[in-house]
């Protein structure tokens, strides 16, 4: 009887803690959603409420109206930059990771240390020379500059993650293929990539998220607003007359949506998820 009561008590405590932590995690998202549905006078009321009294979709209409708000331009730029950076990082990374996983060669441990060092590196440390290099290459104020730097920023992590997926592919499969006369390049395309495709997808998601989230490089490499990515573009609207809270919240939610969807999909298909792979972030 006593034990039963103790169990009930610990169960209640467990659910209280669980609900508390979930509320703390979700609260800012909830505020974002609710504010995006509030008319402006409610959003800046001195007596703030959580739920809107009047629900409006005007902020979403405004966000998608190019004459009011350049959201779609920024969104397009972010898409181009993140997609290309992630795609190229994964493509180059596949070959690098394959070499690190399956091939024996000199300087392998040196390469490994080099990747490890770059992996720990922060972009902020190279901001000055990279700015000079990008300018001297004539890439200042282009999307290409951000793409190139994002490839480099994500490549070591991509290789580490891909290598850990490739390591799980048994050697015997490859040996059989080599007896059949396949070259290494063919093996990568016909065996490694198909067998590790879900892992490769998760690396793509990782690289995409890093590029989508970048503010540092996008803010110094690009000066005209037609090339602004979402982070730089939205931040530049801060403290301007365009800074309508509801609109900014709608834009924030729409900015978060692609990566959250991609992450949810990749989690569903992949057992070993991104964060467990020691992903930088």
């Amino acid at each position: 009887m006593k034990r039963k009561r103790k169990n009930a008590l610990s169960r209640t405590l467990f659910y209280i803690l669980l609900v508390l932590i979930l509320v703390i995690s979700l609260f800012p998202f909830f505020i974002m959603l609710m504010t995006s549905l509030k008319p402006t006078n409610e959003a800046i009321s001195y007596n703030p409420t959580i739920l809107p009294e009047v629900v409006t979709l005007e902020h979403y209409q405004d966000v998608f109206n190019p004459s009011l708000f350049p959201f779609l331009t920024y969104f397009k730029n972010s898409m181009i930059v993140s997609f290309l950076a992630a795609f190229i990082s994964v493509f180059i990374g596949i070959f690098g990771a394959y070499a690190m996983s399956k091939l024996n060669f000199k300087f392998k441990s040196t390469m490994n240390s080099a990747f490890y060092t770059v992996y720990m590196f922060s972009g902020i440390l190279l901001v000055v020379p990279l700015f000079k290099i990008i300018s001297s290459l004539g890439l200042y104020n282009t999307r290409t500059s951000i793409i190139i730097v994002m490839i480099v920023q994500t490549l070591p992590t991509s290789i580490f993650m891909l290598k850990s997926y490739f390591d799980t592919i048994p050697k015997s499969i490859e040996e059989a293929a080599m007896i059949d006369g396949l070259t290494r390049v063919q093996i990568v395309f016909y065996i490694t990539i198909p067998l590790a495709i879900s892992g490769i997808a998760s690396v793509f998601v990782y690289a995409f998220m890093v590029a989508w989230n970048d503010y540092l490089f996008a803010s110094i490499f690009v000066s005209s607003s037609e090339f602004f990515t979402l982070t730089v573009g939205l931040n530049s609207l801060f403290a301007t007359p365009d800074y309508v809270w509801g609109r900014m919240m709608a834009a924030s939610l729409l900015t978060a949506l692609p990566v959250v969807i991609m992450y949810a999909l990749s989690e569903r298909f992949i057992k070993k998820n991104l964060v467990e792979g020691g992903v930088k972030g």
């Binding site: 467990f14 995690s25 979700l26 800012p28 998202f29 505020i31 001195y46 703030p48 959580i50 180059i92 070959f95 690098g96 070499a99 399956k102 091939l103 024996n104 060669f105 000199k106 392998k108 390469m111 490994n112 770059v118 992996y119 720990m120 590196f121 922060s122 902020i124 440390l125 190279l126 901001v127 000055v128 020379p129 000079k132 290099i133 480099v152 290789i159 050697k171 290494r184 989508w212 989230n213 503010y215 540092l216 110094i220 982070t231 931040n235 900014m248 919240m249 924030s252 939610l253 900015t255 978060a256 990566v259 959250v260 949810a264 989690e267 998820n273 964060v275 467990e276 020691g278 930088k280």
Partner: protein
């Protein structure tokens, strides 16, 4: 990190050598794009950075750079703002790492049992970690707004915990508290996921045996849980320390009141337009980073597969 066993190794010596060189060529070909990119955009910039640190670099590339010798280093090493920024960064890093690790471990232990909606709850917790900073920053700026933010409304008007509303974006001390709370909130899921993964591999019978021996919860934690999670703990603390130390995005976007070292460097380079000085700061930070990497190399498992 041993290289995989080569199955041909036991066969003739000649064959082994042939196989090795064959691998080396193809390995070089496969790694070439990576090597070129890292050499061109990491290694070369690092060297260039050291060179720049000895010069006064005008923003206009057509003007000549002026050699200054060690002047940039003298300036920063005698600059009180630099040390203040370092101090702020160390405090910010320490609080964030300790806070996010302990919270992550606590929540992971809470989740280490069966309950309904466990998967959904886990996904909700990871949300702050995967959402882009810019979205989160806007939500926080709104919630903590000095005049119409809901947090100040609760703290002052509703509950009366505080007599006066903290000016989260104007007062440096409040701003510091804000960026630290934000970092703990945003990054504890990383620790949570890693700890949960290892907790789930642990043997339940160890706890049962300890219970029979009469161990209390704290004793069980210290004697069973802690030794088991140690490798993950070390990895998480090391990586999080480095990444927080060089944090730029989150702090800079949230408030301009907290100049952690990343922000200080950025402002030197792109607001003060003093590239040479910024480069010298980078070099000093390089030295710190390499020292940490050197000592952490053996203890940190990047793949975190435990």
């Amino acid at each position: 990190m041993k290289p995989p066993q080569n199955p041909t190794e036991t066969r003739g010596k000649n064959k082994k050598i042939k196989r090795r060189t064959g691998d080396s060529k193809i390995a070089l070909a496969f790694l070439l794009p990576t090597i070129i990119l890292l050499a061109g955009l990491v290694l070369y910039p690092m060297i260039e950075n050291i060179r720049i640190s000895f010069f006064d670099v005008p923003l206009n590339p057509n003007l000549d750079e002026i050699f200054l010798g060690l002047e940039n280093y003298q300036t920063i090493l005698t600059d009180r703002d630099f040390y203040r920024s370092l101090g702020v960064t160390v405090l910010y890093t320490a609080l964030t790492v300790v806070g996010s690790t302990i919270l992550g471990l606590g929540v992971a232990m809470l989740f280490n049992r069966e309950f309904r909606f466990r998967k959904l709850s886990r996904s909700i917790i990871i949300l702050s970690y995967v959402t882009p900073s810019i979205s989160l920053v806007f939500a926080w700026q709104y919630m903590f707004n000095n005049t119409y933010g809901i947090i100040n409304h609760w703290l002052v008007d509703v509950t009366g915990i505080l007599d006066e509303a903290p000016l989260w974006f104007d007062n440096p001390a409040s701003s510091f508290a804000l960026v630290t709370i934000f970092a703990i909130w945003r990054y504890f899921p990383y620790a949570f996921i890693s700890f949960l993964a290892i907790l789930q591999t642990m043997d339940e019978t160890l706890y049962e045996a300890a219970e029979i021996d009469g161990a209390n919860a704290w004793q069980k934690f210290v004697n069973i849980t802690l030794p088991a999670i140690r490798p993950v703990l070390i990895t998480i603390v090391t990586l999080r320390t480095i990444w927080t130390f060089y944090m730029f995005n989150d702090v800079y976007l949230l408030t301009k009141q907290v100049d952690v070292i990343g922000v200080y460097l950025y402002e030197q380079a792109f607001s003060q337009n003093d590239m040479g000085q910024a480069a010298a700061i980078s070099v000093v930070l390089f030295v710190i980073l390499f020292t940490v990497i050197y000592f952490s190399r053996r203890k940190v498992d990047v793949t975190n597969e435990t």
